[in-house]
Symmetry: C2
Subunit: 366 residues, 2 copies
């Protein structure tokens, strides 16, 4: 009987994350280890211009890879774009021994990861997130997918990247909004982890952090997510902790979209965490001084989100539509007893949510 | 911290296969155990008419399920059909806690399995194969997918069904060709397993076997595949044993298709195994008397496949295009030292293949 080769693809719970600002070296080393038969690099129309030339100059692997370009923007994270990526892989001779290098934000790593997870039932892929939000969130954790039928991420797979290279090198291509948006997810990880991590983050100003200091903060933050995902890769329980701020945050995001004045995802999460910390205070005694401190930080860094009690019915309806909820009367939250003390699957009634929205408006001064 | 729910979906190596002719009871029991939030049943235009009414009469779960119908035939195992299934799941309120029941042959279980594996990053699905080929091959083992860009199964995922119900109940809907086609894969399992299993199969006439005797043979055969897949779910090594007969079989199948007189997949495998046993005899001393015995069985049960030495260049080209091969000069085979003694990853040169094709034609009397 022949030899059984060692498994090339990592299992869901085994994530290979490399933290470095020497991105080119890291990519070439991973490629040297996995030895793919053929290399492809996926970029969007933004990273094609802003990042790829810089990356090709420092990585032989990227320079030699066959390029696939998709349109930038969440509205192109769809089946048409996915089919284009599959076609280009197919027409350029990709096999199950090939590798795809995803270079971009969450759209590129989510869609590229799903394309690779399903091409010939799975080829290798690595993620090179170029945005702060991508680095702390989308690129790590194995959630891949596309939007379908107007529902975000409706089609996808759980499949870890063979490696993720986390770096602050390309953050100079980002706007202040982009930076603050990603930073909100880092603060979320701080809230889930410990007072030390949380305090370190809200005592820093994301606009002033240099590349090396940012890499250290990134590492601390991403490892919080990694530990949670490793314990529960397919979101049966603990992983829902990562939804902190998102149940109400998504509702704020949708409201802003309906008003035709969209807000960045991370801003919505920052506001959503404020309201959910209010609920945590009401229901689990989350400390008042920490809540006040966070409210002040949000006001200073994210300004405020304007809404009135006339928006409450819509906000509640958006929360009820979240895929985690079985019925509108029983909305599911991740809450905190204190910083680092997580309680998932908390059911909160509509009246308590309305009270928390009132208090949020007070804290924001609106 | 909240409780972490037990994992609902089986890991790749943990297949739940139920052998029974009481299919309705088995389905209702699985559904009672998994308790999906909503049930869907996928059929094609054939099983919708021939099987579903019988199944709905004996299974409350199937009777209550929301029906999704796709067009029958491998030419519809494509992205359009997949998107239709996703849409119908979405529009009828499927969640990640729902379940899809696939009722049909390989097209239904492959495409339905992939739809379920990727809807909301994975909902539950069970397979109810209604063809012999589906029962012994497609429905078991976790290979799901669709054809893409004219390449069979180019897009897909490895994902085990949450359960597979193997039964001979619906084989009365099959033609003699369908039965013999599936039986060839059973014989393949016999060749991989032991002289006892192999002899039992070629001493029986598939057309004469009653439903209960067939269920016993099916169980023996499927468990051979299950053991191999459990040891190597994502085909890194040992699983390639299941390619026995397929490297040359696919070439015969393609040749027949090019001539516009297609042959059933299992027939092509039966002829392909004959040629690959000839190579096994030439290279590994596979016993001559067993080879002769198998040749006689093929002639009696599958008649012969007509080809001449003028077809050799085409046949070799088809083999070289197989996704398992790195170059046309080095074609990869699974061979046997004797029945039950497998050797994977055997590289065979073109001259030896031509000699084996000559001998095959002698043995077939063409």
């Amino acid at each position: 009987m022949g030899n059984v080769n060692s498994a090339k693809h990592h299992q869901p719970s085994d994530q290979n994350i490399i933290f470095t600002n020497n991105v080119g070296e890291a990519i070439d080393s991973i490629v040297g280890e996995i030895k793919p038969s053929k290399l492809f690099v996926l970029v969007d129309t933004n990273t094609d211009v802003l990042v790829l030339p810089r990356l090709a100059a420092i990585s032989k692997a990227v320079e030699s890879a066959t390029k696939i370009v998709i349109k930038a923007g969440d509205e192109h994270k769809d089946l048409d774009t996915l089919a284009q990526v599959w076609s280009q892989l197919s027409e350029n001779g990709a096999t199950r021994e090939s590798m795809l290098i995803n270079v971009g934000g969450g759209v590129v790593t989510d869609l590229g990861g799903f394309a690779a997870a399903t091409f010939k039932r799975g080829m290798a892929f690595i993620n090179i997130p170029t945005t702060l939000l991508g680095a702390v969130d989308a690129a790590v954790g194995g959630k891949t997918g596309i939007n379908f039928n107007n529902i975000k991420n409706q089609i996808g797979a759980f499949r870890q990247a063979d490696a993720v290279v986390i770096s602050a090198t390309f953050f100079d291509t980002l706007s202040q909004h982009d930076l603050r948006s990603g930073y909100a997810e880092m603060i979320k990880h701080g809230l889930l982890e410990s007072p030390e991590v949380f305090n370190r983050l809200i005592d820093s100003d994301v606009a002033d952090i240099d590349t090396n200091a940012m890499l250290n903060l990134l590492q601390e933050s991403v490892l919080v997510k990694k530990r949670i995902v490793d314990a529960d890769p397919t979101e049966k329980g603990l992983r829902r902790a990562l939804n902190l701020g998102h149940t109400i945050g998504h509702a704020y995001e949708t409201l802003a979209l309906e008003r035709h004045s969209p807000i960045p995802h991370g801003y919505a999460v920052a506001y959503g965490m404020l309201t959910e910390l209010v609920i945590s205070h009401m229901q689990l005694g989350f400390p008042s001084d920490t809540l006040q401190r966070y409210a002040k930080y949000v006001a200073e860094s994210y300004s405020s989100f304007n809404f009135s009690c006339e928006d409450y019915p819509n906000l509640l309806a958006y929360m009820a539509h979240d895929k985690k909820n079985a019925s509108p009367e029983r909305i599911n939250f991740t809450l905190l007893e204190q910083v680092g003390k997580i309680k998932i699957d908390c059911i909160v009634g509509q009246q308590d949510i309305k009270t928390a929205l009132d208090i949020t408006r007070d804290l924001m001064g609106i």
